[in-house]
Amino acid sequence: MTGLPVSTILLVTGFLLALIGLWGMLTHRNIMRIIICFTVFDTGLRLVMVATGYITAGTAPIIDRALTTAEAASRAIDPIPSALVVTAIVIGFAVTAVMLGFAIRLYAAKKTLSIDAFTESKW
């Protein structure tokens, strides 16, 4: 329609999401919002990773009736970024879970989630 390749659109979307997340992470003062912005940042970068694996007019790298073994090499998308994104999602989940655990501990310590209350590690 627009002549823009679909992977470029995905790239732009992913980078925009990453920028939104970065802006939110640096401006918000509430720890929960910072964590949410971190996940938005993460999601944007994952979109970018998936987008870089796209091949013009490619399809999912799963051999079935729609994609025979012979034409797989010419029609399948690059499976490596997709496999790496699974890793990225799992690690992102792990980081988010640990951050939430720390947020609970911080709230228990100061009864607030505002990052301004935690002055010990400020310089």
Binding site: L11, F15, A18, I55, D64, V90, I91, A97, I104, R105
Partner: protein, 287 residues
């Protein structure tokens, strides 16, 4: 204000980097050599139609083992992080009984909130039976009714959620198992199916807040899955080309349910392990 300007500058600089990346990006028209190798080799050599599963479980199997180790460490560290919190929340009800005014302090967790509400309503009932029409009773009654509504909001799920859970839960678990065991044939695999199973566990905990997940049993299941996973890898080291090589079992016919060597086995173990781990993590956050 100053901070926002600095942040805007940082974001704009990152935006410039990203813009340059997008500007010089050209959509691929053919696979890179390594990807070509994987796409051609995975169906022929491993017998798995889903090439991504082949990469995840065989070619990058060691990475996947590391990921599972990271998940295990997260479950352990979350338990460590939230452990002391639990002892604190058992103190909370006594605190709330002493002074209903201290509800803000006790309102840390939904459990503490419910406990505070219960204590408040008990106090109100006692006061109402002893001295009617005193200002204190009215206040306590108001506090109790407020707390009761809070309990109704936080503790008891609505009937729609409960009935919906009864209908959906078997479906979610079945779908999770389907995704896990079909990982070598179609989109899916251990991680995805495990996440679906854990979402079912999450729904169960939402619908029945009082129910306790059997964390000890889940931990045992998870440990056994991990041990079996590593032993399958060692079997591959002995009978096939290397660690986590699934070719010690017959390759079978491409696209058949029982095919692709040990990949479905490893995938199932991965799914069990991830599902149990995520369920334990969800349960830990519920304290």
């Amino acid at each position: 204000m100053m901070r926002h300007i600095v942040v805007a500058l940082v974001v704009v600089l990152f935006g410039l980097i990203f813009a340059r990346l997008i500007g010089s990006y050209v959509e691929l028209s053919a696979l890179r050599p390594l990807a070509t190798q994987y796409v051609i080799e995975a169906p022929r050599d491993l017998g798995t139609p889903n090439i991504i599963t082949g990469i995840l479980i065989t070619y990058r199997g060691f990475d996947t083992l590391g990921e599972v180790a990271v998940l295990f460490m997260v479950a352990a560290s979350i338990g460590l992080l939230l452990k002391k919190d639990e002892t604190k929340s058992t103190n909370a009800p006594t605190l709330a009984a002493k002074a209903t005014g201290a509800r803000r302090a006790a309102a840390n967790t939904p459990a503490a909130k419910a406990a505070a509400a219960r204590a408040a309503s008990v106090a109100a009932n006692r006061a109402a039976s002893a001295t009617p029409a005193s200002a204190g009773t009215a206040l306590a009654g108001a506090a109790a009714s407020e707390a009761d509504s809070a309990e109704a909001q936080a503790g008891e799920p609505s009937e729609i959620v409960r009935t919906g859970t009864d209908v959906l839960l078997p479906l979610i678990f079945t779908f999770g198992a389907y995704v896990i065991v079909n990982g070598h044939l179609s989109a899916g695999g251990g991680f995805q199916g495990g996440a679906i199973v854990a979402s079912g566990a999450m729904l169960m905990l939402l619908a029945r807040p009082g129910s306790r997940l059997n964390v000890a049993l889940l931990s045992v299941i998870e440990s056994f899955a991990g041990v079996l996973y590593v032993s399958l890898g060692i079997v591959g080291l002995i009978f096939a080309a290397g660690f986590l090589d699934p070719r010690f079992l017959p390759r079978g016919e491409l696209g058949a349910f029982v095919s692709a060597g040990a990949i479905p086995l490893i995938s199932a173990l991965l799914g069990i392990k991830v599902g149990a781990e995520l369920s334990v993590i969800i349960d830990r956050f519920r304290s």
